[in-house]
Symmetry: C2
Subunit: 158 residues, 2 copies
DNA sequence: CGATATTGACTGCCGATGCAATCATTGCCA
DNA sequence: TGGCAATGATTGCATCGGCAGTCAATATCG
């Protein structure tokens, strides 16, 4: 069995060809754009993604939410604090496992999350103008594949 | 001429299919991994990317560097401060345009950037195990395309 | 030529983030 | 059962990042 060929070497890893660099820049630019879009809702892009994650049942608890968004656990506690103060998120102690605090959206939180969602949809459709359906689904699949790898990756040996 | 079909609507924008969510999570996970890799060099992943950007002539000045990395200009000044104190970066006032301060790497900065680069190459080759050459180049091209769009995008109307 | 706009570097300020430690609760296993 | 590891939530601490404003130098245009 042959060892797979390595893609990167010292001759071809430069910013424009670096997945890490490109992913970071795309993230920075996209988040900055969305922060401005959400400004009049009093939300940041990260806060909105937390609301959405709760909405879709990916973040039933604070720890799960932090894992889902690859966000710091401590910082997540404080983010939930502010979202709770805004009246968008509810905390409810779990009776079965008393370590856990269940998170859920208030009606106001649901409404805000859905309002923002429509604007995010509009933004992305604008940004993806000219992309074919196949290009987009391929791109999403590749991002998912990368996420899965990074999630399960042991600390890199290098 | 027909208006292109929109990809996203309220039935298919959820975290696992959202480019924004996936890009963010990949960035968070990748940067966290690289932060640990660079820890013994006393560098963070963001600092390293600044060094590389200077190395490749993409960040000849503080402002250009901030644009290249989609990083805050003020924060960049302070990052250069610390990299200068570490003896990795040099500042040199430009004589032609006296607003500008030219950035360059010291020999120590070059060496550190290249050492880290090799480790980054190793990490990415590990993370991309199983990807075909074509899949990787396609992925990179799509990320570049997205970056270009986001860079030139006016504030989203939505 | 002169006023205004633009650009680059820098700074103060505030909020957010990551890390480490703590405490409570639960799971696991000898 | 009893002790120990694991998990969840929280907090303190240091740092970082984004925003807005300032100052200096340059470009633009009437």
């Amino acid at each position: 069995m042959q060892r797979p060929v390595s893609f990167y070497d010292t001759t071809n890893l430069y910013p424009d060809s670096s997945i890490g660099y490109l992913v970071r820049v795309c993230n920075q630019l996209g988040m900055a754009q969305l922060d401005r879009v959400f400004a009049d809702e009093g939300l940041t892009a990260v806060q909105w993604s937390a609301l959405i994650s709760i909405h879709f049942g990916r973040g039933p608890t604070c720890a799960a939410l932090a894992r889902d968004l690859a966000h710091d656990k401590g910082a997540m506690t404080r983010m939930i604090d502010t979202l709770e103060q805004k009246g968008l998120v509810r905390r409810l102690r779990d009776d079965d496992d008393r370590r856990v605090i269940q998170l859920s959206l208030t009606p106001a939180g649901e409404a805000a999350a859905m309002r923002c969602r429509e604007r995010v949809i509009a933004c992305w459709n604008e940004w993806l103008t000219g992309w074919s359906h196949d290009e987009i689904t391929t791109f999403i699949a590749q991002l998912q594949r990368l996420r899965t790898t990074l999630e399960s990756a042991a600390p890199c040996a290098a």
